[in-house]
Symmetry: C2
Subunit: 717 residues, 2 copies
């Protein structure tokens, strides 16, 4: 239980606060009030330099005066006053803290120094703390709310971790109005001590949390994130919004919580590798997290759509299809069961569209049950259930006809217990999302939300939330992660690198690059280097025509743009001519690579990149001359196992290329993914390798062959 | 004023309704109540077979009994009773009608017959009608609401046209709660008589409507849509959600309003060609339509972000960048103006992030003014303005400290007139969108919305709405549409087609296909056909090496997959060998095309497709072996003018390919777009041409050359 310190931090028996007063409009006071008023049962100690009583409780001048070392100390005072008090708590024996105070790393060098001192004190006294520059945390299970915003409503099942305090505090009302509730929520701020991965680990183990949502602007340790998340995601869904891929977004994040923006595509790869679902908006983060936290696991991607309105039904169908779902046409048996319940001619083949129907229970209960019990769908999206919301809307008009009735009279007539309706998904073990244009003003929305069935305020949103459940099913069903079988460094490969380094090269020449790759079982063409015309012609004859002649010099990039590559040479004469033209184009005598001509209409690429934050990553995608224009490349942190490599093959947009394609056979997926697995380990065996670029990797029939390769070295390992 | 009949239909002086009664829960009654209660000032006549009075008004048994021919008749009675009454109104002299009643084309053959009869009656009496199977219309200017849902709030500037009744009626409460209001809204239903294009034409001319939003499941006459929308969009933004591209969505739509699902990519092309902005969700349709209708036109894409919270600031920046906006770093002058207003260290370089600030006016007034007046931005996205909403949220806690104050007391203290704040965008002529997690419960949200500044409930949404304003700017700034200069049919081209048709061919052979293209100035390689070995070799020598030899037979497709193409032949021997191999591979004696070898690393495509609904369309995109895998192709209805062709070049995802690319020169955009313009006219000059496929169109340096071409014919024109 590596996250056990987080459990202690989140479950204190006693809390002290510095920065609360009797002024209700001060931040510190608001934080304290949330603790006092939202049900915390433990001891609570305000620290105040002058006041005898704060918020009706005895106040203490200094931490030293406290009758005990509180489990948790909360700081909401200006940063310049913080350190001595923080240290005083350390001396007192307090082990956990939340530093709400801003003015640290996010403000520049001085702030960074201050943050370093804070970290030093914590280390000295063995303290763990959240923040600084955060909004606190919520633990519904412990009835503990340290944010500024009062909590209402019941505890939920969604755990939230946020690098923005807003999404833990400012959105509390937003969430309550949408029926979304947390189990626990942590605003991590600058992550000087506790970081998102610590909290992720904790929530991954927390039995009260069934799904974890993260708002992220940077991941400071991607490798630990990967290892932590990878363990959680097969059992518990993790969903993330990552913001910061753009230049201006990064600028914003940097000054916000001191975050460094990273490369969007590397984050994408990391999340896929970890089995983490990425969404693009805070709305989806909350809403899809809610659906993941509350709904029974979906068993397939067959969706039934039940609606009383055609437009939303079409939109749900369209959006479901775009999000990996299918909408099977219902069997004749099921349709025969539904049809008598519907207006004449109303369609019941999926979507079931009741058109404008006034008896909602037929739709929400009878038909929902029939569809869920049919065995023909794995999930249901329902649109249009409404009762009191619609009544309230039309009352101003119909009251004209009912002068003796109040709105309340009418609502009382309309009212019925809808809790059984909201239990349908759980009784039938079929997940459901609901689309409604009516909010909690309507009894149906209220009953569904309070019954833990997500209601979204547009049909497309309910469909996309269902799509996220299907995405998670694929993650849950993945082959368990297996670390790639260890490879040993090949002595020949080591020699190649050592020689190049000794010569001061910052890259291997093409010949040696491919020799190195061949050491690790990566298919390369039969080839020789030649330093003069005769040996070039002899090499060509030896290899067998057709051959390719290329300049072979580590200093020359983009050979094909400079007439330094001659393809498809079919004769000794041709080889001689090509040799001479290469020397001429180069303007000096350079070695030539004579290589077997590899035919194949499909050019892909595989490679290793290096990033300051992510280290070595493996890349796979569409290669050849179109590489930069099409930019269809997917990434993973190195090394990858067979499962990850297989997933890479299926997630490029142009994946059709790898199947039966224009009369060409499908790629040997085992061979290609095996190549990626081995490639991904090479830089770990040879720390001097910075980058590898195999492009094109030509599909010769179904077999990938590395036709060109670049290996970039670094003198420091 | 071709839409003048719509003006009469939307502005009746007298209305009759069939189907209203004194039962408040009947649809017909609700429609009638909306007319009576929502301010209609004209005469209103209920028709009822038995009642003497309906809703307090004298009821008439038959249309014949009416004292006048009402301008508009509304029908909400079962379809089987409709026709005689509809005809009676025709006889009486009523010219306009709304048929709410469902049970027509959308239900199958019998319904379609009924709809045909309705159309026949209308034609006989010169009537125009909306529906059947619709929810009516709203004209705020005339205080006329014929839907079931009462309207509250003030008139808006957004005009809405919907093929789903739900989006005109069921969402009224949803829209009111978001502060969105219509000028006019029309539910067109089955479009038996009045269709979306009629209404679009009308709203395009309507001075009370500043933007038009359409919910579309099918466009029955794409050409008229194009011509109508193309005229409107340079002056007035048109935004559309099209649903129905998916198989299940199409199934839903078909049974919904009898709509036929169409090809998503053709709709995409149509909307671009027409200057119509497409969005994917009903939420965006309303919200972005609202922004377009209310905000001053944006003059560029430089966006200033003002926030009091870092997370939303980053999300806005990221989303703006992904939606075509830039976030320039503010000048030192501007920053110096802002900095004194901010907490120390808070960033003011754009985003301006006040962090948690309690004095909202600094952000919403002082800083907003500074940024808007700076000349450094074209639009502003603002996040986090809140007052009473936050007070209400924290009141349960702070009331503890303020036992003598009620919430109302506190709100009174907080209250100030925010209408000047909401006028900032209009006074400064800088469009603004606002992101807030607080709804109309908060005084800021209320003031902005009622002041016609759109407030969205998430930062990403406010940013995307701003992106839509920038998209519209590009449409407004387009070169005015000019019809392509007419071409005349080339007699040589006519001969080629006639010959092929006479021989019963359903396609031209490659040689003649390119000859035909050459007639219209499309560059093709120098080439000859050869029927024997000697003439093949002679042709090769004549053209000059290197050459290409290919099988030339209209019956053979995918030549390169079958060893029927030999590239880069450099000698007479090679030509002879290639000729023999082609005969061998074909298994019979076939003609061979000897062609100049065109070199160039970039393969694109251009073509003509034919669709039942859209007719001939022109296609442009990435060509070569990757065509199907990458599927990066854009479409337009034929013919296209120079402007449209130029736009096609810039909208493919791989457009980098057309620029300076890997040492290759940029494509000659005039030449390439000119090629598309001419190509797009060919099928109009030669009605027997069904499809043209030029793939690859190789960029030889900067010049596109049609290296392979297929022309598909149809015997009927």
């Amino acid at each position: 239980m590596s996250a056990s310190f987080m459990h202690s931090l989140m479950n204190p028996q006693s809390i002290a606060i510095v920065g609360a007063s009797n002024n209700p409009m001060k931040m510190g006071t608001m934080h304290a009030l949330s603790i006092i008023k939202n049900g915390f049962k433990g001891k609570f100690y305000p620290i105040h330099p002058r006041e005898k009583k704060v918020l009706g409780l005895k106040a203490y001048t200094n931490p030293e005066d406290l009758p005990e070392a509180p489990d948790l100390a909360i700081f909401v005072l200006p940063s310049r006053h913080l350190l001595p008090l923080f240290e005083a708590f350390g001396r007192k024996g307090t082990k956990y803290a939340i530093v709400i105070t801003a003015g640290f790393k996010e403000t520049g060098t001085d702030g960074a120094d201050l943050e370093q001192q804070l970290q030093d004190i914590a280390r000295r006294y063995g303290m763990r703390f959240i923040g600084p520059n955060c909004m606190g945390m919520v633990n519904r299970e412990a009835s503990l709310n340290t944010t500024v915003t009062p909590l209402v409503g019941k505890p939920g099942k969604l755990g939230l971790i946020s690098q923005s305090g807003t999404y833990v505090a400012q959105t509390i009302v937003y969430l309550q109005k949408r029926g979304i509730h947390f189990s626990k929520a942590v605003s991590v701020g600058n992550e000087a001590n506790v970081n998102i991965i610590d909290v992720l680990e904790y929530l991954g183990e927390d039995p009260h949390t069934t799904a974890v949502a993260l708002y992220i602007e940077t991941i400071r340790d991607p490798r630990r994130f990967l290892e932590t998340a990878r363990k959680i995601t097969p059992q518990k869904p993790v969903i993330v919004q990552y913001v910061g891929g753009s230049e201006a977004g990064g600028r914003a994040g940097l000054s916000h919580t001191g975050a460094m923006a990273g490369k969007n595509y590397l984050y994408d790869g990391l999340f896929r590798q970890a089995g983490v679902i990425r969404v693009d908006t805070i709305e989806d983060l909350y809403a899809h997290g809610w659906a993941l936290a509350t709904q029974p696991p979906i068993r397939g991607n067959r969706i039934g759509i039940i609606t009383n309105s055609g437009g939303p039904g079409s939109a749900i169908a369209d959006t479901c299809e775009a999000n990996g779902c299918t909408m099977p046409v219902f069997s004749q048996t099921l349709q025969a069961g539904i049809r008598p319940l519907m207006p004449p001619h109303a369609p019941c083949g999926n979507p079931v569209d009741l058109t404008f129907a006034m008896d909602m229970a037929v739709m929400t209960d009878t038909i929902a049950d029939l569809v869920m019990k049919s065995g023909e769908v794995d999930g249901v999206v329902l649109h249009g259930a409404m009762s009191t919301g619609f009544m309230k809307a039309i009352f101003p008009n119909i009251s004209y006809l009912l002068p003796d009735m109040t709105l309340e009279d009418i609502l009382r007539q309309t009212d019925r217990d809808l809790s059984a309706t909201a239990r349908k998904p759980f009784e039938n073990d079929i997940p459901m999302t609901v689309s409604s244009f009516f909010d909690r003003d309507d009894a149906y929305t209220l009953a569904y939300e309070d019954g833990e069935v997500p209601v979204l305020d547009a049909p497309e949103k309910a469909a996309r939330a269902m799509g996220t459940l299907v995405r998670y099913k694929k993650i849950r069903d993945r082959t368990p992660y297996a670390h790639p079988q260890g490879m040993n460094p090949d002595p020949a490969a080591e020699r190649i690198i050592d020689d190049a380094l000794k010569k001061g090269q910052n890259a291997l020449d093409e010949y040696h690059a491919k020799k190195l790759l061949a050491c690790y079982g990566i298919p390369v063409p039969d080839e020789r280097t030649a330093n003069d015309l005769d040996s070039a012609v002899a090499a060509a004859a030896d290899i067998g025509f057709p051959v390719v002649l290329k300049a072979c010099d580590p200093e020359i990039a983009h050979k094909s743009d400079q007439q330094l590559v001659h393809l498809n040479i079919t004769s000794a004469d041709g080889a001689a001519r090509a040799y001479q033209q290469i020397q001429q184009s180069a303007g000096r005598t350079i070695p030539v690579l004579v290589s077997q001509m590899i035919n194949g209409g499909r050019e892909i690429l595989a490679g290793i990149t290096w990033d300051k934050q992510f280290g070595h990553c493996v890349a796979f995608g569409v290669g050849g001359v179109l590489t930069e224009a099409i930019n269809d490349i997917t990434y993973r942190m190195a090394p990858v196992g067979q499962r990850d490599a297989q997933e890479m093959l299926t997630e490029i947009k142009s994946k059709k290329l790898l199947g039966h394609y224009r009369g060409m056979p499908p790629v040997d997926a085992n061979q290609l993914s095996g190549l990626l697995v081995r490639l991904s380990q090479i830089p770990l065996l040879h720390p001097h390798i910075r980058e590898i670029d195999i492009n094109p990797l030509i599909l010769s029939g179904s077999v990938p062959v590395a036709v060109d390769a670049l290996v970039v070295l670094t003198q420091t390992d």
